[in-house]
């Protein structure tokens, strides 16, 4: 919430400086066709982009040269096979899908051909090519950057605020990056341990204390000090989603400096009255129940009790703060079948399905929360067909034949994998800001309770109940409250991303799926 407001604010009042290249960060930029800058250990190279049919595309030939690919056109099937390293990507004209080493990923548009040249949507790079090459390929559309490999280009968004005798410069750095703040005569230097910066820096509102904030050499930011400068104090505060915040308080002369308040981190608003943005009904599934106890902690805490406790709190929070309609698959200690749980969501036409669980391991040390969404690969052909929404030509009564969709109801989730992935990613980032995460924070699995859900659906493992510390946490009010707050944050971000909320607020959320950290694994 905080970062978002700040970013919108910064975008409005900022002198724009993007060190690497490019226009405004923050707005949901429409396809521009402006070239990207490919930034790798080897240096920078331009990569032209074109807008075809409202979609930004790269010429496949350009990617072949950049990443040493081999492209084969299959005349018989009309497909394109791209060999990247040891992996093969199969593209089919007319389909916004690619198969990466047998795994299906979706693309915003089908590959297109102009003359002898094939064009692929720019997202092909981070969604298909990155996983195939096993390299991080991060596409930053707003700043027209394509980061290759372990290159560190943190985003920096700044703001300047006058607070009486002191002027506060805030730099939000995403992801959090080690840095040093030092004074060098009449300037302050903020040096980052990075290869470059992708920064939007603010104009100063108090030029007699801070004259300007500008990019310095390499990955640094220079703060030019004004005549009234007397001293400064720098501190770090963790911000949302693995980001960091640097707060530099610059004290002005003549007025005795007041005690510096702690860097304020606004509490989340208690009431969010923005319209529900198409998210009306949420079904929350408290895992296990009744005879089916689920996992059990060393002190006897039962998974089924923890999940019900959190489900009830989450229902309360979503109803009172977001005005959503919330239905629980069980509201007491009762046995509910796995099919019934998805059926509750389907019958209520829910817009989201969230299944809550607590994990267990043979290793008592295992710890942390995890977010799962469905994997189709494990279902073989059936899953892939369902994902493609393929129809089959079947004879019909009375003669003739008709294309009939033959997706089993049981595989309803297949159509929502991509949206579920987005939602899972947003939930994962929201959780990361508040609770400990497992090293496997986001994953895909063939989970029975998800496969029949006819809407975006995730399963959240809140922590390991078999870990004595986590068992205590899971049963505690404090942890459950933080957990619920994180889930609410995730749901709000998903709602904003989905409703194409105003530029400032949507950008942070909608930039995520292809953004830092790349695609969720697998």
């Amino acid at each position: 919430m905080n970062g978002r407001r700040l970013r919108a604010h910064a975008a409005a009042a900022a002198v724009l400086v993007i060190v690497a290249a490019g226009p405004l960060l923050g707005a949901q930029t429409p396809p521009t066709g402006a070239p990207y800058t490919v930034f790798s250990r080897e240096g920078r190279r331009p990569l032209p982009a074109r807008v075809i049919g409202g979609q930004e595309m790269f010429a496949l030939d350009d990617l072949v040269r950049l990443f040493d690919l081999v492209v084969r056109e299959d005349a018989l099937a009309g497909g394109l096979t791209v060999t990247a390293g040891t992996q093969t990507i199969v593209l089919t004209p007319g389909q916004g899908l690619a198969s990466v080493g047998g795994r299906l990923i979706s693309l915003p548009a089908a590959p297109m051909r102009e003359g002898r040249t094939w064009f692929v949507p720019v997202d092909f790079v981070n969604r298909a090519l990155g996983p195939a090459l096993g390299t991080r390929l991060e596409l930053r559309k707003p700043s027209r950057l394509l980061l290759v490999g372990e290159i560190r280009v943190p985003r920096v968004a700044g703001s300047v605020e006058s607070l009486g005798a002191l002027v506060r410069l805030r730099l939000d750095v995403s992801p959090a990056t080690p840095h040093v703040v030092s004074q060098d005569g009449s300037r302050l230097l903020v040096r980052f341990e990075a290869d470059s910066l992708d920064a939007i820096l603010p104009a100063s509102t108090s030029p007699d204390v801070i004259r300007a904030v500008r990019p310095g050499e390499d990955a640094s930011i220079v703060v030019d000090l004004g005549p009234r400068f007397s001293s400064f104090r720098a501190s770090d505060a963790p911000a949302d989603r693995g980001a960091g915040r640097i707060v530099i308080d610059v004290m002005a002369e003549t007025t005795p400096a007041p005690p510096t308040p702690e860097p304020a981190v606004d509490p989340p608003p208690l009431l969010d009255l923005t319209p529900a943005g198409g998210l009306r009904t949420v079904v929350i599934d408290a895992g296990h129940g009744g005879e089916e106890e689920g996992a059990r902690g060393p002190d006897g805490t039962l998974e089924k009790d923890v999940t019900l406790g959190v489900a009830r709190r989450l229902k309360g929070a979503l109803e009172s703060r977001l005005g959503m309609r919330v239905i629980l698959t069980r509201d007491s200690d009762q046995t509910v079948g796995l099919d019934e749980r998805a059926a509750v969501a389907n019958n209520n036409k829910a817009d989201l399905f969230i299944s809550l669980h607590a994990n267990a391991s043979v290793r008592p040390s295992a710890t942390g929360a995890e977010v799962f969404y469905l994997s189709l690969a494990d279902y073989g052909d059936q899953g892939e067909r369902a994902a493609r929404g393929e129809s089959e030509r079947l004879p019909v009564f009375g003669g003739g034949a008709r294309d009939i969709e033959v997706i089993l109801w049981e595989m309803a989730q297949a159509r929502y994998i991509e949206e579920s992935a987005v939602f899972a990613q947003l939930v994962e980032t929201a959780l990361r800001a508040r609770v400990p995460m497992s090293p496997r924070a986001i994953q895909q699995a063939p989970f029975r309770v998800l496969v029949g859900a006819n809407m975006p659906a995730v399963l959240v493992e809140m922590g390991f109940i078999t870990n004595p510390d986590q068992e205590r946490q899971l049963a505690s009010d404090t942890f459950q409250t933080s957990f619920v707050q994180a889930l609410v944050d995730g749901i709000v971000r998903y709602r904003d991303a989905r409703s194409g909320a105003p530029a400032g607020s949507a950008a942070s959320a909608s930039a995520r799926p292809g953004g830092p950290g790349g695609r969720p694994p697998r």
Binding site: G78, R296, N359, A360, E370, S375, D378, F447
Partner: protein, 197 residues
């Protein structure tokens, strides 16, 4: 447009199946043999079958509990794919080498293994596979994929595996992983870095 794709895919599958059958037989018998369908046992002379052993990759839970680890183990040689599959599952559900932990609940026994012509294996486990489970989703994934991967990795003639309990199809072992269908090899849960014990 779709028909040729389907035909090409079928042709490819048949070719791949034949190839896997051959390489699979070669691998488990440890010597070149003529192609033979699973139901016809390989003509290996086999001394006392109990004494011959082969190397197979089996999967156990890592020390941090966050992944499976593949490790080479000796298992008895089997005269046919079916017999070899039984030996592999028996070794897989048995004790784990230190410091790894077994992904299969203690006390679980193998009731039987069935094979179809299509390369589907049905592994029938005793009730302990459910009743003795920790109940964790991750552990459940490990139990399922330790068995699925042990068979599909070591015996390429087996392409999919379905787990049964007490002779019946089950929804899940512990409430999460969908076991109503045969599952394919999935090494997602196996740690790949140089961490063999």
């Amino acid at each position: 447009m779709r028909r040729p794709v389907v035909l090409a895919a079928i042709a490819l599958l048949v070719a791949a199946g034949a190839w896997m059958l051959v390489t699979g037989l070669l691998r488990w018998s440890g010597q070149p043999v003529a192609e033979a369908p699973p139901e016809t046992p390989a003509p290996a002379p086999a001394p006392a079958a109990g004494e011959r052993r082969i190397k197979a990759t089996l999967y156990f839970i890592s020390e941090d509990g966050m992944s499976l680890v593949g490790t080479q183990r000796d298992v008895p040689f089997g005269e046919s794919v079916l017999e070899q599959a039984r030996h592999i599952v028996e070794a897989q559900i048995g004790p784990a080498p230190e410091p790894l932990a077994s992904a299969v609940p203690p006390g679980t026994t193998l009731r039987d293994v069935f094979l179809t012509d299509r390369g589907d294996a049905f592994v029938d486990l005793s009730a302990e596979a459910r009743t003795g489970h920790t109940g964790g989703a991750l552990d459940e994934l490990f139990t399922v994929y330790a068995i699925v991967d042990a068979l599909t990795v070591n015996l390429p003639a087996i392409t999919r595996v379905q787990i049964l309990v007490d002779g019946r199809e089950v929804d899940t072992l512990a409430g999460h992983v969908d076991l109503r269908h045969p599952l394919q090899k999935n090494l997602e849960w196996v740690r790949t870095d140089k961490d063999e014990p």
